[in-house]
Symmetry: C2
Subunit: 255 residues, 2 copies
């Protein structure tokens, strides 16, 4: 039986998409059947895995709109054990609304997760920033959740809301477990970044914070520009190695 | 007659809040009556202007919920010409939903903008990331909009959706004008950041991109940690000076 792991945050730009892409790649490299699902209408996942180009390849939004079948939009990747379901065509404001409405009222997302789990997939879900209905819908179907936290001032303040949302979600979804908070973009040589990281480490209970932290690296930015997970493009990079360790840490619990 | 200027972006963490805070401070320093309004339930504005602390001081959400009067929640700041309306108490997921619903169905936001404009205020509005109903609601009432664009790979791709949303909004709001795209967090010494900035400058039509660009500076991060706009805390800092120039550029058109 597979499992669903959501990557969520209130704050924008903290590394949700980068984490979803690299964690799922690292899990697949360990030989685990992994399905990366992008539910963010922004559709950023496609860029990080080389399916960028112009326009949006079909995905979840098109299944919800009824123009595509689920099996036609789940795509293979260069990694044998990694499949991906992109966000799909959500190009203007009106479409964003109908996308959200359909996502929240249709059984499609829950059914897709169920099917993937039955086939033994670890489903890694990239979500939009903020505490919206899409994020809560995903949490209602998830068994695991991780929260990236960017190593910048007030990182903790912007985490309280999402932690509360996760507690709310667990009250109606008893299977949901917060695996941990992941410190990201910890910048070597940046005193403020280092101070914030130290502060976060001392403020959060040990079980709430992952031992693994993702450093801010040039290779990470490069990799995204090249449309490849940094874990594949630059495996010796410190961020790449950290994501591999994170997958190592999480994997036993993802069954 | 005052005017409403919205700061919007699809992508998270690109500097909307930092821009809203510093632009409004710089406009106020020029002697213009300015009202900074936070419509993002995340409520980040309060941190950047020293009203952080624990919990959320009352604001827009409380007016919408009917527990506070508008005049009681518009706050003074250390700057004589700057007032601020915070996001207010939106602490859990259920409250996020009702907040959005009320914001979009109640006349409150439009009325507040109207009243501020009648009194000659420039209203600077900080919005949540993404192309949600809140952002579109704000655009329907705005006369000006600026779009921060973080100097990182694929910055342009994540801008097409918000530009389309602005065009949509202009078709029903004929007063809405896109003042420009603002390159932010341009990092000196970071080759990728510099390359992206160069690429953006060559790709975008000159009238669409501000000549002013906001560099990534330690003082900016410091200032937010200290709860003060960088334009006030470190006026010689390059980011502070850039925001002052931006206010200089924009001000004549904001009447
Ligand atoms: N370890 C890292 N080192 C350097 N840059 C990074 C790292 N992780 C992420 N980034 C960059 O930071 C930016 C934000 O990351 P990302 O898009 O993954 O965040 P996000 O939380 O998904 O954003 P959004 O809220 O818009 O969905 C991206 O440009 C990304 O390439
Ligand atoms: N010029 C700058 N130099 C250095 N750091 C900056 C600069 N501008 C913004 N930052 C930092 O980058 C982070 C993101 O900025 P900010 O919160 O303003 O973005 P945002 O678009 O409002 O994010 P969100 O999508 O979550 O609302 C913050 O930690 C901020 O302090
Ligand atoms: Mg993302
Ligand atoms: Mg913000």
């Amino acid at each position: 039986m597979g499992t669903v792991l959501a990557v969520v945050s209130q704050k924008g730009g903290v590394g949700k998409t980068t984490t979803a892409i690299n964690l799922s790649s690292a899990l697949a490299r360990r030989g685990r059947k992994t399905l990366l699902v992008d539910v963010d209408p922004q559709g950023a996942v496609r860029h990080g895995i080389g399916l960028g180009g112009t326009g949006q390849p079909p995905g979840l939004a098109d299944v919800l709109a009824g123009t595509h079948e689920l099996q036609d939009v789940v795509l293979p990747t260069p990694l044998p054990w990694l499949r991906v379901l992109l966000a799909g065509s959500v190009s203007d404001s009106a479409e964003h609304d109908s996308y959200r409405e359909r996502l929240n009222s249709s059984p499609t997302l829950g059914e897709l997760f169920e099917r993937a789990r039955t086939r033994g997939y670890i489903v890694v879900v990239d979500t939009p920033p903020g505490l919206g209905s899409v994020t809560r819908r995903v949490l209602s179907f998830s068994q695991h959740v991780i929260v990236p936290l960017q190593s910048e001032p007030l990182a903790l303040q912007t985490t309280t809301q999402i932690l509360r949302a996760i507690r709310d979600a667990s009250s109606t979804n008893s299977q949901l477990k917060l695996d941990g908070i992941l410190l990201t973009m910890v910048e070597e040589g940046n005193l403020v970044s280092q101070r914030v990281a130290a502060y976060v480490r001392e403020q959060l209970p040990r079980e709430l914070l992952f031992d693994v932290e993702i450093p801010r690296t040039m290779a990470s930015i490069d990799a995204f520009a090249a449309g490849q997970p940094v874990t594949l493009r630059a495996p010796d990079d410190l961020a790449a190695r950290a994501y591999v360790r994170l997958a190592e840490l999480l994997e036993p619990g993802l069954t």
